[in-house]
Subunit: 555 residues, 2 copies
Amino acid sequence: MSRKFTIGVDYGTQSGRAVLVDIATGEEKATAISVYPHGVMDDCLPDGTKLDNDFALEHPQDYLDVLSETIPAVLKEAKVDADDVIGVAIDFTACTMLPIDSNGKPLCFYPEYKSNPHAYVKLWKHHAAQDEANKLNKIAEERNESFLKYYGGKISSEWFIPKIWQILDEAPDIYNKADRFMEATDWVIMQLTGEEKRNSCTAGYKAIWHKKNGYPSKEFFKALDPRLENLVEDKLSTDIYPIGSKAGEITEEASKLTGLKVGTAVAVANVDAHVAIPAVGITDEAKMLMIMGTSTCHILLGTEEKIVPGMCGVVEDGVIPGYFGYEAGQSCVGDHFEWFVKNSVPASYTLEAEEKGVNIHELLTEKASKLKIGESGLLALDWWNGNRSVLVDVDLTGMMLGLTLLTKPEEMYRALIEATAYGTRMIIDTFKENGVPIKELYAAGGIAEKNKMMMQIYSDVTNMEIRISASPQAPALGSAMFASLAAGKEKGGYDSIVEAAKHMSKVKEEYYKPIPENVEAYNKLYAEYKKLHDYFGRGENDVMKRLKKIKANAK
Amino acid sequence: MSRKFTIGVDYGTQSGRAVLVDIATGEEKATAISVYPHGVMDDCLPDGTKLDNDFALEHPQDYLDVLSETIPAVLKEAKVDADDVIGVAIDFTACTMLPIDSNGKPLCFYPEYKSNPHAYVKLWKHHAAQDEANKLNKIAEERNESFLKYYGGKISSEWFIPKIWQILDEAPDIYNKADRFMEATDWVIMQLTGEEKRNSCTAGYKAIWHKKNGYPSKEFFKALDPRLENLVEDKLSTDIYPIGSKAGEITEEASKLTGLKVGTAVAVANVDAHVAIPAVGITDEAKMLMIMGTSTCHILLGTEEKIVPGMCGVVEDGVIPGYFGYEAGQSCVGDHFEWFVKNSVPASYTLEAEEKGVNIHELLTEKASKLKIGESGLLALDWWNGNRSVLVDVDLTGMMLGLTLLTKPEEMYRALIEATAYGTRMIIDTFKENGVPIKELYAAGGIAEKNKMMMQIYSDVTNMEIRISASPQAPALGSAMFASLAAGKEKGGYDSIVEAAKHMSKVKEEYYKPIPENVEAYNKLYAEYKKLHDYFGRGENDVMKRLKKIKANAK
C-alpha cells in the first residue's frame, strides 16, 4: 500500500506556509512559504487611501495566493502525487475577519469598495475597535451577561463583535452590503469546499459563541445598537462545527487553484495556537502547551467547564473534540526582551556581541546563565504590555525593583525572563486552584526551541517537566493531523486525534526537568512576586492606573 | 588702605585646591590645584603591602604638599604680597582621620609602621569598619543611648569611632602607639599653628560629640570594648572649638612651608560641605543648601535643637556659630545617572551623541527636557545606593514602575532625576513637620551649575525658589570667609559671618522659580512616590531587604 500524505497550511501575520506530511510517521516531506504581497496594511490601502491609527488590514487575495503557490510547491518538492494526498487543513491567526457577499466574494474585490478600509480583512491586531469593545464590556457588565465569565470578564477589541460593530459605526454601507461576516480561516475553507462551515474554535474564543448557550441574546445585541439586533441571523450562522470534523471536499475550482484532487477531504478551519496542541502529542486533559513568541498563548484541555479567573476563554470542542479547551495568555514575552535590547543594553555590550560574532540575545543569555538564582537581587513584574492572565488588565505596567549601583544589564535581562516565568506559574496555579488540573508542560515556538536557560528557569519556577515541540512548524503539522482526521480511516487517514497524534506528533527527546534546589530558591522569589503582583494588580495600590491617567492627560 | 585677602584651601578626595580671595568683594583672584601624589590607596600601600577589601587610605604627606604647592602658587598668580593675606582656613572631606604621636607626627611616617595600613589616613570612604559600626549600633540601641537620635538612629561605618575601633581590633600596636586620633582637617590646622584645636563640625557630625553632653559615656565605650573605656581622655580631646573661631597663627615652620607671614590668622578647621553654607550667603535659619554631586548633602541652620527622623546629624555651632547645624543626605544622585548611562543607554544613543558632538548626559537631558510632566508614566524610588535621609536604611534598593513597550531611555533618565527631587522634597517636608523651618533652597556643585532641566524639576517638585552658587569653588570660598573671621576686624577682616557673607558670598543672578502648573502636576506624582516610599521603606513590605538577604546567600 502506498504512503498517504496530508497538507497543513498555517496562515501567519506576514505569510502562509504549507507543510506536506507523511501521516504514518509525521515526517515533514516538504515546506513552502508564500509572503503576502500586500503585507499588513496599517498605513494605506493599495490605492493609497490613508488609514486611521490602529488599523491593521489584509487583502484576501493574498490568502488565495498562498494556496495556489505553496500547495503545488510542496507536491513538487516532495515528489508526491496529488492522489496520495488524502486531506488538507488550515489554521490562521484570529480573530482575522472580513465582510463577504452572498457568493462568498470579499467586498474589497468590488471596484466600488476598493477605497473603503472596512471592505478589507481586519487582521487580529487591528486595534481600532477599542471604543466599541469598551462600550460592549460596559453594557455586558450592566446587563450582567453570563458570557463574560468565560472570557476573564472582558471581550477584547481584537475580537469579532467589536470589529463588526466598528464597521457598522464607521461604514454602514459596508455593513448593509455584507451578506456575511466571516473569520478568514472559515472563508478560506469555503474557497476550498464551496460550503460555509464555521469552526467552533474561532466561534467560541473570538465570537462569544457557546456550545450550549449559543451567541449572546438579541436583547444584548439590541442594547449595543438596535441595528445589531438580528446580527446573528442576518450575517453570521448558528451552524458551528467542532474542531476535528470534516468541512467538505476540494471542488473543481479549488482543484484548479491548488493542484489537489477533486474530492480530497478538507477539515474544518482552525486557529494557529490551538492547532499546535496535537502536534506536540496532547490529546487529553492536564497538559498545558505554551506557544512562546512575542507573547505567550497557553492552551489546555479539561473534561469539565470551569470558570477560571483571567482565562481568555473556555470552549467546548474548541481545541480537541470532546474536551473543553482553555486558553490563557501573557501579553508580553519575546516583546519584553526585544524592548530591553533596543532600549536598555549599552554600547559596550553591543560591541562585545559583535566581536564575539553572536547576537545580543545570545550574549545576554550567556552572561545571565552564569548568575545564581537570586544573586541579582532583582524582581520584576512582567506587565510591560499589561496583564492578560490572570488579571485581565491592560492598564497595568512593568516594574522592576532591587536595583543597585552594581546592577548589570544581564541581571535585568534575567529578571525579565524570570518575571515571565512567574507569570506562567501564576496562570498554572490559578487553573489548578479553580479545579482544572495541570500535570505536564509543553512548549513550542522560537523561544522554546532556542533559549535553554529560559526553559530551565520555567521548569524550575513551575516545578514541572517541560517538553519541547520537535517540529519547527507545529501549527502546520497540527493542521496536517486534522487533515488526516477529515480524510478518515477509510481513505487511509485516522478516525481519532489520539491515533493521529500517536503517529504524527513530535516532541524532542531532550526535555527540561526541575532541579530541586532551584525549585526551592525560586519558591522564595515567587512568594515575593506574588505579593507584589497582588499589591499592584488587585487594587491595593492602583498607582499604575493613576500614572496611566496622568500620562494620558499630559499628552 | 590696601586691599586685604584670605586664602581658603579645600581638601577633596583626589586633590587639594587653594583659592585666594579679595575679602572686600569675594573676587577669586587665583586658584591652584595639587593632586595627591599617592591618590586614594585602596589596593596597596606605597611599599606594595596589599590592602583588604573596602580599605581606602591616604598619605598625610600629600596634605602638606598641597600647602607648600598651592599657597605659594596663588600668591604668585594673584601678585599679592603675603603681608596682605590676613588669614587662612581649610576644609576637608570627613571623617578622614589618622593616628599621630605626641608630637603630631603621623604614625605612617615611622619606618617601622610604613607597612601597616592602620598607620595611614583612613579616608571618608574607607568602609572596612562596617563590623565595628554594626556592633556599635547594636550596643548603643541595647543601652538606649540618647546620642543615636541626633544621627537618625545610626552611626555610619564611615565615622570616627568605628574607624578607631577597627584600628584597635586589627592593629592594637598602632592603637597603643597612637598618642592621638585626629581628623585630618584638625591635623593640618595643627601643622599650621602648632596647636591642637579640634573643630566642632567634625566632632559633632562624625565623632558623636555633643556641645552639652560631650562624648558618649565611659560606660558606653567600655561596653564596646574594655580597652576603649578611656578613649576620650587618652586619645581624643574634650576641647572642641566652634566653627568660625580662630585656631591660632602661622608658625615659623608653617611660614616656611607656605610662604605666608608668621602670625597670619588661621581658622578652626572645617568640612567641605558645611563650609559652603556662607559661600552662598546663608548665615541664618530656614535656608537649605544642597551640595549636589555623586550624592547630595543637605545643610540647614536652625535656632533650636530638634530631633528630625533620618537626619545625618544636628550639631550646635557645627556650621555657623550660634546656630544648630542640621545635615541630611541622599546617597545616590550623580551616581544614579552615571549608573544609568553606563548600564542602560543603547548604542543608538551613544552614536547619536557622538554625531551631535555632545556627551551622553547632554543628549539625554535634551530629549528628557521635551517631555511633559507625567508623560512617561514612570515613577522611580531613588534608592540605588540605599536611603540615607529620611529612612536611614542601606538595605533599600532602587525601583522603577510604569514601564511599557514604548518606554524610552530619556523617559527613564528623567524618572531617575525626578526620583531624586522627590527624595529631596521628602527631606524638606520631614524637617518642616518636625519643627525646623525651610523657606529657601540653595544649590552648589557641578550638577546644580550645569543641569538647568534638573534644577527646574527640583524647583517645581519642592515648590521653592532655588539659588545657585556663583563660585565654582564654593567650599574654598567658604573657607576664605572663615579665614577673614579668624583675622577679625582689627586686622582688616570681619567680626561676624553675616558681615563676611555680605561682602564675599555669591549666588548667580538667575535663579529657579517654581512654575505653578508644574507644581500642581508634580504634587500628584509626589503623592504616588510618597505612598510607595512608605510601602517599601517603612516596613509594610520588606521585599527589598528579603531580596538582599537572598542575594547575599546566593553569592
